[in-house]
Amino acid sequence: MKMLRSETSRTVLSLGLLAGAFILFTGAVGMIAAFHEREVVDRFISLGQLLLMLAPFVAAYLGATRLDAQGVGAQAMLGGGIIVGLITAMPTVILLLFNSDEFRFLLDLTLKLIPFVVATVYARRLHKSGSDQRLIIGSWLAIVVLIGIVTFSFALIFEIKGDLRSVLPNISRDWVDVVTFDNRNELMTGIFALLLVSAGAGAAGGIVYNIPPVPRKALLYGLGVTLLVGAFGETVRLILQENVDRDTLKQIFRRDTLRQNPALLLFVVSTVAGYLWAMFGQQARYGFTNLEPSRRRAVNGVGMLIFAGLLLMLPWLIGRTLSDVAVTIGIFVLMGLGLNIAIGLAGLLDLGYVTNYAVGAYILAVLTSIGPLGRLDGVFTFWMVIPLALLAAMCAGFIFAVPVLRMRGDYLAIATLGFGEIIGKLAISDWLKPLIGGAQGVQAIPKPIFLGIELKNPEQLYYIVLAASLVTLFVSIRLNNSRTGRQWMAIREDEDVATAMGIDTARAKLLAFTLSAATGGVAGAIFAAKVGTVFPNSFTVFISINVLSLIIVGGIASNPGIVVGAVVLIGLPELLREFSDFRFLMYGALLVIMMIKRPQGFIPSKLVTHEIRAGVKAKPAVAD
């Protein structure tokens, strides 16, 4: 008992249990079994197995960091890592035992013991605090009965049904296969394998922490690159497909899975690259900052040119499927940049951004459709409607801004949320059905035609999105550094003080809402042209939430942050389609982790960094 109280053992125990709970949870929701379907390296390791190893590895590595801070030696860290690994496997082992025919009685026993144990612990506590004898006995009985009803019924269910699946449907044979490393019929061997792998991963975590920084960085880099390429094998193959001939591709991939030898090669190459970077990267950066300003500008310029070239060539490099994803990302970048004017610059929490998206999409749909709802055959082209969509969205933004001008913060958010819902209801209403088709929506929207070429592929549409994004980016950078931008900044900081500075806050807010809406309209129009049909179902509150999330995850008021946020929150889920519902679990987990570990976003803007630093330091020393 005393040993458990030492800080070292507590660290090991808590991290191990945390990782164990993670494995147990992902197993119970079916993630491990689903991830097992995707092989990272052909016939070597699956994503599910990787998850099983990654948890103890990371836990042991974190444990080593903490043990190091407690002044524990390298050997003890190795031991600690092994123990963390064993503890990580424990909850899964227990569940395996409960799930097996031979050891089901253990579950039965546990369930039947729980009420008595809980009641006794509680009674002891009452006893220690000197309660009345009758009260102690009374509460003991009450607890046994109350908890007993629940646990005994579960025991009964398990006895009748014969396995755990009646309560935990994902504790399936597939799951057992993964966690026992295909030893379903030899349970003891399977458990032993799990413990061995888990302890090994834990030990690796402890060891990796103790190797010198340069090779460690190289190793982690190599592992990371290889596993990422393996995990996103399908995506990587799609990219290679564009640039490599079929036979080579066949040697690298077996269907979507990375073969063993290329994986090994990739690991070696990326480790060496990581090693070189770890050795000389610092020097290179140092050399760069010490260059003459003109030279440095030249290097920067070359970098920018390469980047611009890559942006322009992107569709050819990544092929059709990924270009489609890129267009979707671009549409959301467009909306992110727009919403950022309201949220990031002016501090107006707008949760109804989907309104502008819907207005833009429907304007384009109705004006250009060649289906039954389009009565204006061929009069309007895509290019004519884009400015109209922009204007219409601005009008919508203006109209919806007027009633909420006096609202602030949370109230504003709720009101705008309502507007988003109103638009959704209007789109599906019978009242507007003759015009916009109600639930059937508008069909047969022609693709844009540019110089006689029909832009029907995502590779071509990509350039429209790119151009629109660049224009928006330019405008928003200019706005940020303008008098208007400073007005918004002042309003975001303190509306009353802004007024006291002579700023007409009502006008500035109207302007922010209106300009913010503009790009939403363009994004909607491009979306409509891309998909070719517009349904009310496409315009839900989730669009608003997605745009807001990508701004926050990327870094509020930071333009590069918005691009990164869109790639992570919109692009990754598209690439992970095969994991269906688990995408949203991961999406949610990412949001929570980001908000705890990096609230300023991936690429924070200068202002927000100010704010966070100010939050740490701003203890006004009164007697200064």
């Binding site: 400073r486 900081e493 006004p620």
Partner: protein, 236 residues
């Protein structure tokens, strides 16, 4: 003629009758102190004058013009500048950006010179002009708030509790500064709980009590007034 004339104003927070007919005058070049305890209506009076709240009854005349219905942001251009309660500096902007915001309504070429003037008045701010305002100490933030209000080149400066939350050493400094600003010809309306300090630099003073002017007199007389001494100066 008085620069500012407040005639029998009644201001409400919803149904709460906060100001029950407050009247007073501020002449050009004067320092006027409004003193009173918490909830007497001092800040409400200031907010009503500068347009953040509208009086339900009564009028506010500035330079002979009725401004009781004017919007707050338009008054800055007319020469009324306010240092809000709790300083209200823009915490995320640098000192210099804050000062720039103060000159927001101005488009004349004199802004640069005035920035220099502000740094002469507060050398401390020049040392920290690239620092983010939120990291300044309380005293420095107060200086910044005053300097920012001066950047609008006001004729009338409204100060809301400039001594609030400051150490006694710093309070002296703040009142010194206010005196110096007044010497340059800016008319000052000062709202203060620290009656002792306020009445030392003021020409005249008004004592507010539950939304009404209870006493009005010269500052010298108020310092000697028995009620004022007992209630606001802590002298028995």
């Amino acid at each position: 003629m008085a620069l500012l004339e407040v005639n029998d104003i009644h201001t409400y927070y919803g149904n709460i009758h906060a100001l029950k007919g407050v009247s007073f005058e501020v002449d050009s070049g004067e320092i006027i102190a409004l003193i009173g305890s918490n909830g007497a209506g001092k800040t409400t009076t200031l907010r009503t004058i500068c347009g953040l709240m509208a009086p339900r009854d009564g009028s506010v005349l500035y330079d002979g013009e009725d401004i009781s219905a004017a919007r707050a942001d338009t008054l800055v251009g007319k020469g009324i500048s306010m240092v809000p309660e709790g300083r209200g500096v823009f915490a995320k902007l640098t000192v210099e950006e804050n000062l720039d915001m103060g000159a927001f309504t101005r488009r004349d070429a004199g802004v640069k010179d005035d920035l220099k003037g502000a740094y002469e008045l507060f050398p401390r701010l020049e040392e920290r002009k690239r620092q983010v305002a939120g990291t300044l100490s309380g005293g420095e933030q107060q200086m910044l708030a005053i300097a920012r209000a001066l950047m609008a080149k006001p004729r009338l400066l409204l100060l809301d509790e400039p001594s609030m939350g400051l150490a006694p050493v710093l309070v002296d400094g703040v009142f010194d500064t206010v005196q110096r600003i007044a010497n340059e010809g800016v008319t000052i309306l000062l709202v203060e709980q620290n009656a002792h300090m306020a009445l030392q630099i003021a020409d005249r003073g008004y004592v507010l009590q539950s939304g009404e002017v209870a006493i009005s007199d010269t500052a010298a007389n108020l310092r000697e007034n028995e009620t004022v001494q007992k209630t606001y100066l802590g002298i028995d």
